[in-house]
Amino acid sequence: MTQLATAVPRRRSVSLWREMRRNWVAYAYIAPFFILFAIFGAFPILFSLYLSFQQWNGISPIQFVGLENYARLLADRLFWLSLWNTVFIGVIAHIPILFGALVLAFIVNSSLIRWKQFYRAAYFLPVVTAPVAVALVFGTLYGVRFGLINWVLTTVGLPAIDWWGGTGQWIKPAIIILFIWRWLGWNMIIYLAGIQGINPELYEVAAIDGASLRQVFFHITLPLLRPIILFTLVLSTVGAMTIFDEPYMLVGVTGGANNAGLTTALYLYNNAFQFAHFGYASAIAYVVSAIIVLVSVFNIRVFGRSQTEA
């Protein structure tokens, strides 16, 4: 046995290769994904890591600059502002999104509601609506002089909102409202799938025992949804740190007054595609990725651990 064990690593690689050759048809079938991933996923990821240590305007020869891009980031007021904007918008928007989605999923799933399919579709609709249409509709809602919201406000005697002016104090709320509207239904559908995966017998038992709706929600639905909640938290972290569409639609590439709507993704886009600073933009991308990984690991630790205890 000991003799065999020493020979294992080599034998395994040889036999793996042989296995692959024998089953090459199967590998050929799954190859398209890996080939596409290598070209459109792995290559850009690795290339932008390389680029983050270079200076490159997209056309001229690439120049190695070491850690200069990262050093510049630390001193860049706009980068830190964009990071603060992103975290602020992400955190504030996701509180109602995640809680709201959970409650909505519970309600839409409950046997007391009629026309469930209609509500599910209605809440999910924003996710599949084209951004151009969203931009038009919200442009009309948020109009300063001819906007629907301001019309309602002035009709009931309140002052109109100067959405884009002043110190930019209304820009973040405008983005947050749009963000909530767009992503509430998405999370609701994920929670709904999770809720439907819970054994219905548990609910029946709870009903027999005379548990209230509130008790059912907090003692059955919520604990059993923990892995799903973890999943949405990780997705939300990624979504929050890469917010782009919403500020781009509402305030454009600069982020509006005082750069109040300048998110990190917008700043990255600006640097790469407006100013052709591809190296610097890649450094931004890697810092954002690092933050996402850190937050996700934290989430997994917190939620993952308590689940194993349970």
């Binding site: 590998y27 305007n57 442009g139 002016g165 110190t167 600069t254 007054a257």
Partner: protein, 453 residues
């Protein structure tokens, strides 16, 4: 049994060899048709050149395509239109990748600095293009904009945008003001005069404002240019910029601007329902008013007038270029097209008549077209006015850092307006930030400039 033996053959050959063979075959197949026309270019085979641009360039090209094809029967055009921003992003990507670029690409004034000072585009001063012979025929600042720090010409001038204020004659009359261009020019010959007229026009109770954004007062003198001096030091904190910002703040205080961003849906609505009386724009804006901005069922004929920008009328907003990527295999045909379209009085004026793109080619101005009264503008000779303004435009300084500088500059202008900051301090702060953010690009471009000396 056939498939069995096929599989085993493949097995023997080895998957990777098979794949490699497929790749080679595929690339051969892809190369073959591309190689054929270039080898037979001397013959009668027609050459198709790909032209990238954005609307309404397609309409502009159509106005002379028949003449062009009569002169060059062996050149065919494949015109591909896309949104302006997409076109520039795609072009940058194609140049970086070294493949996929068109034979002729349009480049807009806002984006030209992204391409100047970099490789990827043909130097049109070289043989066989010799574009240098047209330098004396082009509006000088336009030529300078497409010239790299080391003296190459990477794009050929198409059109310019002599800036004017477009105003609603009927709305001025309603406010008890004269509406003929001569009187309005006189009233608005200074910025305080402009603000005075604007104040009389504005009536928020009737949902009416003179202009959409007070920042236009500054922007009128600073669109894509003059952010730096000849040594590329930031100069937007100079007396002129601070003075204009002060006027803009006075305009904001007087409440004459609707505080609505240009180009948004709300802005378009307000132009359509008489809520904005005056709008800054290049000559091309006239084409917008006649076209997509005009609300349905409204006849604007005779309702608009055009006057020059107060105090320093020689101003420009917008305009574009055409360039040939290095990777094009049909550079000769591409240059023939550019030369025909842009260094040609007849084609330039046909495009001008079709879409209001004002020629950068000076000989084109000597044409009866420029004396014509335009009924849309109440019979005003607007084209003669724009020629006059084009002649007044002083040489100005453009740099490879302009796109970023303009974004920072206008952010500070808006901040100074919204928060009523001290104008001098705001412009000083703008310069600090511009210098900081553009330092890398500046160093790179300066190196290029030094190398050529």
């Amino acid at each position: 049994m056939l498939h069995r033996s096929l599989f085993s053959t493949a097995g023997r050959l080895g998957l990777f060899k098979l794949l490699a063979l497929l790749v080679i075959l595929a690339s051969l197949a892809a190369c073959a048709p591309a190689a054929a026309p270039s080898s037979g270019a001397a013959g009668s085979e027609p050459t198709t050149i790909t032209v990238w641009g954005w609307p309404a360039a397609d309409v502009a090209f159509e106005s002379f395509t028949a003449d062009f094809e009569a002169k060059y029967p062996d050149i065919k055009l494949d015109v591909q239109m896309m949104p302006t921003a997409d076109e520039h992003t795609k072009l940058l990507a194609a140049l970086a990748a070294g493949t996929g670029a068109p034979d002729v690409a349009m480049i807009e004034i806002n984006n030209i600095d992204k391409f100047v000072a970099k490789g990827g585009l043909v130097n049109l001063l070289d043989e066989p293009f010799n574009a240098g012979v047209y330098e004396k025929d082009m509006v000088p600042y336009k030529w300078a904009q497409a010239t790299t720090p080391d003296g190459r010409l990477v794009a050929f001038p198409w059109d310019i945008g002599p800036s004017t204020f477009f105003y609603r004659r009927d709305l001025l009359e309603q406010a008890g003001l004269p509406s003929d261009p001569e009187s309005v020019t006189k009233l608005m010959s200074t910025w305080p005069g402009f603000i005075d007229v604007a104040t009389k026009l504005t009536d928020p109770a009737k949902q009416r404002w003179a202009i959409n954004a007070a920042s236009d007062i500054v922007y009128s003198n600073y669109g894509h240019r003059n952010f730096f001096d000849a040594d590329w030091n930031c100069v937007v904190n100079n007396e002129r910029a601070v003075q204009l910002l002060t006027y803009a703040q006075q305009a904001r205080a007087a409440g004459i601007d609707a505080k609505v961003a240009t180009w948004g849906p709300e802005w378009q609505t307000m132009l359509g329902n008489d809520s904005i009386a005056i709008q800054l724009g290049g000559a091309w804006f006239g084409g917008f008013l006649k076209g997509w901005l005009k609300p349905e069922g409204v006849d604007w004929t005779g309702k608009w007038g055009v006057v020059e920008v107060p105090e320093d009328p020689g101003q420009n907003w917008g305009g574009s270029f055409m360039a040939i990527p290095e990777q094009s295999e049909k550079k000769d045909a591409a240059w023939k097209f550019i030369e025909y379209a842009l260094a040609n009085k007849d084609a330039q004026n046909k495009m001008f008549a079709a879409v209001d793109y004002f020629p950068a080619y000076i000989p084109a101005f000597d044409d009866p077209l420029y004396k014509e009264a335009d009924p849309f503008f109440g019979g005003q000779e607007t084209r003669a006015l724009w020629v006059d303004i084009a002649n007044k435009i002083k040489p100005f300084i453009t740099t490879p850092m302009d796109a970023q500088a303009e974004q920072i500059f206008m952010s500070w202008v808006n901040k100074a307006l919204d928060e009523n900051l001290d104008p001098q301090q705001a412009m000083n702060d703008a310069c600090v930030e511009i210098d900081q953010q553009t330092a890398g690009d500046k160093a790179e471009a300066l190196k290029l400039r030094e190398q050529s000396k």
